[in-house]
Subunit: 309 residues, 2 copies
């Protein structure tokens, strides 16, 4: 089934203790779609300026990005610049220049409106809701958000949640939105406000899928060298949604697998600047990491000590 | 096989956002043995003053604590007082009074010297090594340590590690000892200095078992209400070691189960002050939490997408 993402298409300048990059491909829709396209074709809706390296995006599209929804507008592309501290756990935003993104009003191309799986990247919740109204009968709508919207557009965000199946956010966001500092209680609060599922991303501490009455936890794949954490969350979302779109199976068992594919994609994202790592890997590499993740957490309950049932 | 622990037997005064307790049972040997005794009898070696509530310890011993190695000395028992911050992730030590613990020189009673499983709680590494020399042919020796010894008795600690099979410490300790801020690299450094296994406890972020060439990760069991984090690590160690002593099986598969039993015990420890929670539960409760932990992380690799091998 079709997989649609709406979000930012940006140029990122990032400095980490290990190096720096200037005006590299970035933005939620880029990380999502480049990671996701290893599993399933992705339809992208966004806006760029005339300065955007469309050739590079086109090259990536050979893997299955449909860029007919990316508008090229007069002006500069969205730019973000940030710097990470020594242990990569803190980051400082040095610059945000919205450029053409400031006037982004997503229009979903007709061929994309039948998408079965829709991901609303982190943009104004009013625009996210407008996207929901443009698509026909999606099987699953997931959305991200951030503290800026939680604080500034809370009512619109809560309205949006009524139309969303999966809220996919990080730990501080779920806590801020719910007003509860405890992640599980915060997630359960969300379940009462629309979504049937909450995915809480905890960075190096993995991610949690909270359903009514059941929790699944996947660790972050342990890497000896993390290079640049930018985009890990959007790559996670890309893996998660693309796996669901590919398999078209929303069973609890399959949602769990989707979480692991998400975690695998997040772990690749951080091994290079920008989306460079996805250019080096194939589906087989993703599958190998999924198997490694299984080995990482797998154990058998002892039949002797633990009675069944 | 016999399971021996040598460590502190203390009186703890703890303040958390949810309440306070005064002079409650505490210390590494107490948490270890009370948790572990749900799975296997534990032989305890330690020292207390005449003020210690031996009746309470005796009551706990009905579950399988052998306290013949606990010496009662003239003076006050070891006392520790601490206070936790709002989110329980930071704690401040208000008072440490060593009392009779200052002159603790562990003497292993003759009947304990055949123990197959030995846990050296966090005490002076010279004393830990002395304990190793007193026991006959243990199958597995595990030890804990802390920043105080890492900084002050590094040489003795490294000498001890040559005689230890499992180093069981928290994340900051393994990093400080190895000089590497990355937990996995830090653990591999340890593997080159004696131990065959490293267990790194990460508090609310779970624990990792690092063997040569293989890693196992167990999350902390997700609790909605954590009451008092004190003793979680020693309870983990108690569950881990007691499971191994009970099953007497050091296969990789069984070490993984031991990690999960450790995690389960740690999760019970934090639900009440002191060791009070262990007084309310049975082996069946522990097993139920092990099953819940299995459900928390379990997923099946899809046969379709992922080729075997």
């Amino acid at each position: 089934m079709g997989l649609l993402v709406v979000g930012s298409v940006a140029l990122d300048s990032v400095e980490t203790p290990f190096g720096r990059t200037e005006k590299a491909l970035g933005g939620s829709a880029v990380y999502f779609s480049v990671a996701g396209s290893l599993l399933h074709p992705v339809q992208v809706v966004g806006v760029v300026g005339r300065d955007y390296p469309m050739g590079e995006l086109q090259r990536l599209s050979q893997r299955g990005l449909d860029l007919r929804g990316v508008t090229v507008a007069d002006g500069e592309s969205f730019r973000w610049a940030g710097k990470y501290g020594f242990d990569l756990s803190t980051r400082e935003t040095l610059e945000t220049r919205l450029g053409v993104f400031a006037n982004f009003r997503p229009v979903i191309p007709e061929p994309f409106r039948d998408a079965g799986y829709v991901f609303l990247g982190n943009i104004d919740p009013e625009l996210q809701l407008d996207v929901v109204k443009q698509v026909h009968r999606p099987k699953l709508v997931a959305c991200d958000t951030m503290n800026y919207w939680i604080q500034g557009k809370r009512t619109a965000l809560l309205r949006l949640l009524k139309h969303v199946d999966v809220l996919l956010v990080n730990d501080s966001e779920v806590c801020e939105l719910s007003g509860d500092w405890h992640i599980l209680r915060a997630a359960r609060w969300i379940l009462k406000h629309g979504p049937k599922l909450v995915v809480v991303k905890k960075g190096e501490h993995g991610a949690v899928l909270v359903e009514e009455g059941r929790i699944f936890y996947v660790p972050a794949f342990p890497l000896e060298d993390v290079f640049d954490p930018t985009g890990a969350g959007d790559s996670f979302a890309g893996g998660f949604m693309a796996y669901l779109a590919r398999t078209d199976d929303l069973s609890s068992a399959n949602l769990r697998r989707a979480m692991v594919y998400g975690s695998a994609m997040g772990s690749f994202a951080v091994e290079r600047f920008s989306v460079a790592r996805f250019d080096e890997i194939s589906l087989a590499d993703v599958q190998a990491r999924v198997r490694a993740c299984h080995d990482l957490v797998h154990f058998e309950i002892d039949a002797d000590l633990v009675p069944t049932g």
